[in-house]
């Protein structure tokens, strides 16, 4: 039984969109972080994480996502999550991730929110 989280990334201008599929634990979180840092290093200003195909993010995975968020904030960038299940949304709020990162119901709304003004 493999529960490895699959991650797909697409770059649209200075926005990188991540799609996750599966359980985000320490390994999944670290892989997301590795790819997120790679995107930031290559000039991405904003990250949008679409978790539509993920139903469980454990607290270790969230702690790694918080590290990604801190790095994005250090660079004055933006991080937005979308398509969260109610349980993931609730857990993000419990751990405070929702206080610092934006959460949107859909990918389109997240993309609009991180688009540069004007």
């Amino acid at each position: 039984m493999s529960e490895a989280c699959k991650i797909a990334v697409e770059r649209r201008g200075d926005v990188a969109i991540f799609w996750t599929d599966g359980y985000i634990n320490n390994q999944g979180g670290e892989e997301i972080a590795r790819q997120a840092y790679s995107q930031l290093d290559s000039g991405a200003r904003a990250l949008v994480m679409n978790l539509e195909k993920t139903r469980i993010v454990n607290s270790i995975g969230i702690s790694i996502l918080i590290e990604v968020l801190e790095k994005v904030m250090d660079r004055k960038g933006a991080l937005a999550f979308c398509n969260l299940t109610p349980t993931i949304d609730k857990t993000f709020r419990i751990m405070g991730l929702a206080q610092y990162a934006a959460i949107y119901p859909t990918q389109e709304e997240a993309l609009r929110a991180v688009a540069p003004a004007g």
């Binding site: 139903r55 607290s59 590290e67 857990t91």
Partner: protein, 162 residues
């Protein structure tokens, strides 16, 4: 032995291990302390939750609570048998709703849960304390939680109503 009831058991006391409650159905599962075995345990909760037609979002909450309880056992218990023992029960209270109850038991060294620091977003973001959220998440997601711990191990008993 340390006993802590984090949230009051509503209406009735929670069933003791091995004791059926109003026709409660019980399944036992033992998993090794190994990567991703917590996900194997959640599959059992899914099956039983679906059996009592619990809404999917509630089943997800139970699954995450199980994941967090197992991770705590994996990381901190130093279990003597390198295993975590789970018991799943579904039942109905006398005049109440159906429930899914999960007991997570390890034979580790136990811990003083009353002295566990309560995490907060401020500590997480301002003081860099990003770990230690497991018990808080379990308490937030389940309707009742009871923790018993001693030098024999730790038992987390948690219940979710349909």
């Amino acid at each position: 032995m340390h006993i802590l009831v984090d949230k009051p058991m509503s209406r009735r006391e929670v069933a003791r291990p091995g004791v059926s409650e109003l026709g409660a159905r019980e399944i036992s599962l033992t998993i090794p302390v190994a990567a991703d075995m917590e996900i194997v345990a959640t599959a059992q909760a899914s099956a039983l939750g679906e059996f009592i037609q619990m809404p999917r979002d509630k089943i997800d909450e139970v699954k995450l609570a199980i994941v967090e309880a197992c991770i705590n056992a994996f990381e901190h218990a130093h279990s003597r048998d390198d295993r975590v023992h789970l018991t799943f029960r579904v039942g109905r209270e006398e005049s109440g709703p159906e429930f899914l109850e999960v007991e997570v038991l390890d034979q580790g060294e136990g811990f003083e849960h009353l002295s566990v620091e309560i995490p907060s977003p401020e500590k997480t973001f301002e003081e860099g304390k990003k770990r230690g959220w497991g018990l808080q998440i379990i308490r937030s997601l389940m309707d009742s939680v009871a923790i018993t711990s001693g030098d024999w191990g730790t038992r987390i008993l948690m219940r979710k109503y349909k």
